[in-house]
């Protein structure tokens, strides 16, 4: 059974979103799919928290959004990374790696 990202992991959800958007602009649905796919179904985004997270990131100016029309003529909202978002992603990635390495050390040697 894949893990579900729950609220305490909110910080990592932001990081995942930023990373996913780093390559190309995407809509919300595609983001969930991409995270699930890339993580090999281990990480399944709780969809109820995805959109609030996206909007919060947008309000913080880390991502921006624009509306386009889908093939089926529906309004679709695409999100892309802003310059600030890129910097944030780099910083958070670095933090994450440090913490991961630290936890790994503890798990191995403690």
């Amino acid at each position: 059974m894949p893990r579900v990202l729950s609220k305490p992991l909110q910080g990592s959800l932001n990081l995942l979103i930023l990373k996913t958007l780093a390559n190309e602009p995407m809509h919300g649905y595609a983001i969930t799919n991409r995270i699930q796919q890339v993580s090999g179904d281990v990480l399944q985004v709780e969809e109820g928290s995805l959109y609030p997270a996206l909007h919060r990131l947008e309000q913080d100016g880390l991502i921006s959004s624009e509306w386009t029309l889908s093939e089926t003529n529906r309004r679709v909202r695409f999100y892309k990374l802003t310059a600030r978002g890129k910097r944030q992603l780099e910083a958070e990635t670095e933090d994450w790696e440090k913490i991961n390495a630290a936890i790994a050390k503890v798990l191995r040697f403690a």
Partner: protein, 905 residues
């Protein structure tokens, strides 16, 4: 998020929602398509997609949760929930809303009166530039002061107005008096304001209809019989008919041309009075036939109001007046005959003073300012007690809702959201209470006002809350809502989920709450002790005032007035008329005796002179006596006993008569209590005194003259016909049996004597005394009402706390009784708790009561604010009430059935 974006969101609320909905719908469809590709049916796929995303609307709103719109939306949701919660607890809701309505209503009422009576300015443009001029120094000659403290002679006024153009746009002069007004067949008494030509201009008043008076209407003495009517008078007496402009009206028998109507609410610079008619000052001789002296520099009477030029401050104006006034002042010296050096020294220091004139002058304001201040504090305390009461109710409910809160916390509600929801519940309660309170204020404010003042003309005061008052009430309501809601809300939000969920019926986590509630109740009891003491003090003061020994026997005495001078009578005709009417009235059935006087008794009027008594050296230049000019039977009718000699008889009623009657205080000062009958006195002082020598014919007992609690002064009574300038006559009639029945007979008799002579102020003396005590009675009644309300709320609060505590200790009582405690013992336990709480609150509040007592000292008569009987009486009364409130839950505790109580858990 940027502020602009936030504001933008606020405006684009609907659009924002649509965006969020579109986005989620797209997501759902995409997800459903995917599931269908994997082989689900369309229906299954949709359901699965929805399950995956969660509640669609919830998510949509969560999505926008950082947005203002969403926050407001959450509030709206909370409001709906709050309304639902309140509907589900009707008893709590009703009690809380009603007590809030009383608290807020009382505040709105008092504030409405305060606003209209104390805070409002004159209804003129830029009232802040108006100033009232005063000349406080000693003055020679005749000074008439109606309380404004501003009395100027006309010559001084016109000089001032002439030279003060640098600092003032203009200075206006005015004086008010009553006149007899005849319009076709209708004769009435009217309030007339004599005004300078520039008066309306200085105040900046525009005509409502026709025109107002100008300087050209005030050039020659007696030459401008023109009148402007007040709006109210025009409406009442002429039905608002515009054709009256250009018609004539007779004032004191002279015809005047009506030139215009003043705007509504304008009554000159005397606020809260009802001025009826405005006439140029040059008509003074016609309007006030007994005292003209318009051009006499020693006749100080006119009140001056100036309009400062824009940009001129009061201090600058004051400084300028210091330069331009002295030469004008010294002109008065040319007409003062043989002034004493001491007087000259004082006189040369005279200077003018300015006070802000934007609020004009108001007797009502002067008399109600202090009572209203007390009332404001009292209703403020009542509101505080109300707020505490509701907070207490909310805490009690919070205990009952602990599980609800815990459940909501456990499903993920933030504590902030919980506090918000509880606060919105209290704000809703506050809003309901506030609206009820405003409704109450609309209905009851006129009653409040009429309780405080007997002479209100509906024309000059609006007793309803206006926009400003409503705004204040809204602020009070919101702050009250937050005040009583915040503490319980924070308390509830601290709910510990696990204990609360486990506990059956909320027995856990309540210790702190009980102490908080006890503390709040103690505060309520303390504050109500404050109000109760104040109410008892005001009541005692009223009792003392109404039982003061006036030296008069007022029961069954009727009084009325007529003003023959205004009806064109000569002095000789007044004497004849007075004697004739006196005899006619005395012959009426039901009448025992009739007296009349020049000065009305107990109506706030004084008339005094300095006198010379051979063999007595006055202690100061200003020492004098009070006087009245009266008829035979005056003393008998008012029940003033004769001490020595005789009072006046019919044969004394001759203009050349030289007998006088004095009172005991006079004998004490001037004759060291020796018999003065047959001794002499002379009006006036100084060496060259040409006044006739008068003989004391008798001595009467002391009695109150100007008011109920005035200081008893030496008094000289003279026959009224010896007065050279008699004005209005006040009659006193002692009746047999029902005095109210005789009033109609009296009215008819006066009309028969001269139908052109209006009778006014017809009332019983007891009514007159009641009017004297009107504000005090109102104050006493209102303070009792508010104190009663406060005590009731405090007692309800106490009852609630004790009852709650009993319900929590059921089990304990059950055990106690199971092991042998009897009912009395359990009763005792609860009563002891109640008594401790009551005693502690009273003990804490007493020092505060004693410390704040001196603030009301000036409003009390014959009782000290720290009166031991009253203070301890109030404390005892409150303690007894507290014990009674505790008795009900205590009895319930004593009825505890140990078997039931022990099985309950």
């Amino acid at each position: 998020m940027g502020l602009f974006r936030k504001i933008g969101n606020l405006i684009r609320g609907e659009e924002l929602h649509q965006d969020a909905a579109d986005e989620l719908t797209f997501h759902l469809e995409a997800r459903a398509k995917e599931y269908m590709r994997r082989g689900m049916s369309e229906r299954e796929a949709r359901l699965a997609a929805q399950r995956q995303l969660g509640n669609l609307t919830y998510t949509a709103e969560e999505t926008a949760s950082a947005d203002v719109v969403a926050w407001l939306d959450a509030c709206r949701r909370d409001l709906k929930l709050a309304a639902h919660v309140l509907r589900k607890a009707p008893v709590f809701g009703t009690m809380a809303a009603l007590s809030l309505a009383l608290g807020i209503g009382a505040n709105t009422m008092v504030f409405t009166v305060l606003k209209h009576v104390v805070l409002d300015s004159l209804p003129v443009p830029h009232p802040e530039r108006l100033v009232i001029l005063h000349n406080p120094g000693p003055a020679e000659g005749h000074v008439s002061d109606d309380g404004m403290g501003s009395s100027f002679s006309y010559p001084l006024y016109s000089d001032l107005n002439h030279v003060a153009g640098k600092i003032f746009d203009g200075i206006g002069a005015r004086y008010d008096t009553t006149v007899t007004l005849v319009k076709t067949d209708v004769i009435s008494r009217a309030h007339c304001e004599l005004v300078s030509g520039n008066y309306f201009n200085v105040l900046g008043v525009m005509p409502w209809r026709g025109r107002l008076l100008t300087p050209d209407d005030n050039r020659n003495p007696g030459g401008h019989p023109l009148a402007v009517l007040s709006y109210g008078f025009w409406q009442r007496n002429f039905g608002g008919d515009e054709h009256v402009i250009g018609q004539t009206v007779r004032i004191n028998t002279f015809p005047y041309l009506i030139v215009g109507i003043a705007p509504p609410r304008f009554h000159g610079i005397k606020m809260h009075s009802s001025m009826d008619i405005f006439v140029p000052m040059m008509m003074k001789a016609q309007i006030m036939p007994t005292e003209d002296r318009l051009f006499d520099r020693l006749n100080h009477w006119a009140n001056l109001v100036g309009r400062l030029k824009p940009g001129v401050t009061m201090a600058q104006a004051q400084a300028q007046l210091g330069v331009i006034y002295p030469p004008l002042r010294d002109q008065d010296l040319t007409v003062i005959k043989s002034p004493e050096p001491e007087f000259l020294k004082e006189f040369s220091k005279n200077k003018l003073e300015l006070t802000p004139g934007g609020k004009g002058y108001s007797d009502l304001r002067n008399s109600l300012q202090e009572p209203l201040r007390f009332l404001s504090v009292m209703v403020g305390i009542v509101l505080l007690i109300t707020v505490v009461n509701v907070a207490n109710l909310l805490i009690a409910r919070g205990a009952a809702r602990e599980r609800e809160m815990a459940v909501r916390l456990s499903v993920g509600a933030g504590r902030g959201a919980l506090v918000r929801q509880l606060l919105i519940e209290s704000l809703l309660l506050g809003a309901i209470g506030g609206m009820l309170g405003i409704a109450l204020a609309y209905v009851a404010t006129p009653a409040l006002l009429h309780m405080l003042s007997s002479d209100l003309s509906s024309a000059s005061i609006n007793a309803h809350p206006d926009g400003f008052v409503l705004l204040m009430t809204a602020l009070i309501t919101i702050s009250a809502g937050i005040a009583f809601g915040l503490l319980p809300a924070l308390h509830s939000a601290r709910t510990d989920m696990t204990t609360a969920m486990k506990a059956e019926g909320g027995t856990g986590h309540t210790g702190g709450r009980v102490w908080l509630r006890r503390f709040l109740v103690a505060g309520q009891i303390g504050f109500s002790l404050l109000l109760l003491t104040a109410a008892m003090l005001f009541t005692a003061s009223l009792w003392n005032s109404s039982h003061v020994n006036t030296g008069l026997k007022t029961a069954q005495v009727v009084t009325f007035k007529v003003d023959p001078v205004d009806a064109g009578y000569s002095q000789a005709r007044i004497h004849a008329f007075g004697e004739e009417l006196r005899q006619k009235l005395a012959a009426l059935p039901g009448v025992q005796s009739v007296g009349l006087a020049n000065m009305a008794v107990l109506e706030g009027n004084d008339w005094g002179r300095n006198i010379t008594v051979p063999g007595y050296t006055p202690r100061s230049r200003d020492e004098g006596v009070l006087m009245n000019a009266v008829s035979p039977q005056f003393f008998e009718t008012l029940g003033i006993p004769i001490r020595q000699g005789r009072t006046f008889v019919d044969s004394d009623m001759a203009t050349a008569s030289t007998v006088v009657v004095v009172n005991t205080a006079f004998v004490k000062r001037y004759f060291r209590n020796n018999n003065p009958v047959g001794a002499h006195l002379q009006f006036g002082g100084g060496s060259g005194n040409k006044n006739p020598m008068l003989t004391i014919a008798g001595v009467v007992a002391d009695s109150e003259h100007s008011g109920l609690r005035a200081k008893i002064q030496p008094f000289v009574y003279m026959p009224y016909v010896t007065m050279p300038d008699l004005g209005a006559l006040t009659f006193y009639i002692r009746t047999r049996g029902d005095e109210n029945g005789v009033m109609d007979t009296i009215r008819t008799a006066v009309r028969k004597a001269d139908h052109a002579l209006p009778i006014y102020d017809l009332k019983t003396m007891d009514q007159l005394i009641a009017e004297n005590l009107f504000a005090e009675r109102g104050m006493a009644i209102l303070s009792v009402v508010f104190a009663g309300l406060a005590v009731l709320l405090a007692i309800v609060g106490l009852y609630g706390v004790v009852a709650y505590s009993v319900s929590r200790r059921r089990r304990e009582f059950g055990i106690r009784m199971a092991v042998g405690a009897d009912r009395t013992r359990v009763l005792g336990i609860v009563m002891k708790e109640t008594a401790l709480l009551g005693l502690a609150s009273v003990a804490c509040a007493l020092p505060i009561v004693l410390a704040t007592g001196r603030l009301v000292r000036s409003a009390l008569y014959g009782v000290q604010p720290n009166d031991p009987y009253i203070c301890s009486g109030a404390a005892l009364l409150l303690f007894i009430a507290a014990m009674l409130a505790g008795l009900i839950p205590a009895a319930s505790a004593a009825r505890t059935d140990p078997h039931v109580a022990l099985r309950a858990e």
